[in-house]
Symmetry: C2
Subunit: 163 residues, 2 copies
């Protein structure tokens, strides 16, 4: 049995693997801003819920779960906690009482008004560290990837999508 580290014959895998690059970039970029989030006594999924309500106050929990990247059962607990804290409130939809909508309270709105500009400023600083081409193309490219991910990956081969 060998006892010293070995470089394998095969080409390196992880450092050139798309899923690693995505996860590491997401984790690294988020870690920077999430320090700001936590300094406002918020957990990351709570910040994500607030950011979603910035765009659509009165959203339903299914919508929030999708955008906050949290399972619905976990999100329900998170939202209950945030309601206790006083940053949002749940209300049955007047047109369909089985549907629950989530609204910012004034305190929640204050947090959003504080954090969204900080998030935008952080994003701007991140993009400013890239080359101009990368800074221009990164978000459109990620959106294109997200769009393909909405469809299940075909079991084999290339789609007819060309440049």
């Amino acid at each position: 049995m060998t006892s010293t580290p070995l470089e394998t014959d095969e080409p390196e895998f992880v450092a050139d693997y798309l899923l690693y690059l995505l996860a590491a970039a997401s984790e690294g970029a988020s870690a920077q801003f999430h320090a700001t989030v936590r300094s406002h006594d918020l957990r990351v999924p709570e910040w994500r819920v607030l950011a979603c309500l910035h765009d659509r106050d009165g959203a339903m929990i299914t919508h929030l779960a999708r955008l906050a990247l949290v399972e619905q059962s976990r999100l329900t607990r998170i939202i209950a906690h945030m309601e206790t804290r006083g940053v949002l409130r749940r209300q049955n939809d007047p047109d369909d009482g089985r549907r629950v909508r989530v609204f910012l309270t004034p305190e929640g709105q204050n947090l959003v008004d504080l954090l969204v500009p900080l998030a935008r400023a952080h994003e701007k600083r991140l993009l400013a560290q890239l080359s101009n081409t990368d800074a221009t193309n990164l978000k459109p490219m990620l959106k294109a990837l997200l769009k393909t991910l909405e469809d299940p990956v075909a079991p084999t081969g290339k789609t007819s999508n060309t440049d």
Copy 2:
């Protein structure tokens, strides 16, 4: 108090926010392959450890933790579990007995030999769904972002980095 969902006056934030796009793309892309990982009775961090050992058999836990995107204390428990399962073994470095290196067992090597080609094939299918330009540029762009993330973000303004 309003009781119907409101679109706010401000432009939409989440759907154009880099950290959301990165997290959603990472989560969506990984979810597809992680179904394969779980079908081999592996948890995601375990797969990541195996993938890292593919590149550097005998790596140290600090190195594995960085690439597997897991805190070192958690990784130590994961590695203990994987050793019990028989897919890797820990061994003290002969040159420095305080350092522990991690090696694949033959069973671990078999798992790696099975999963790394599956991961590469999945990556290939994902990239084939993008336009040729995006498929060519996505990984280099993510690597450029990762490189900037290794340095702390400057508190203000743009760096001198230009195209």
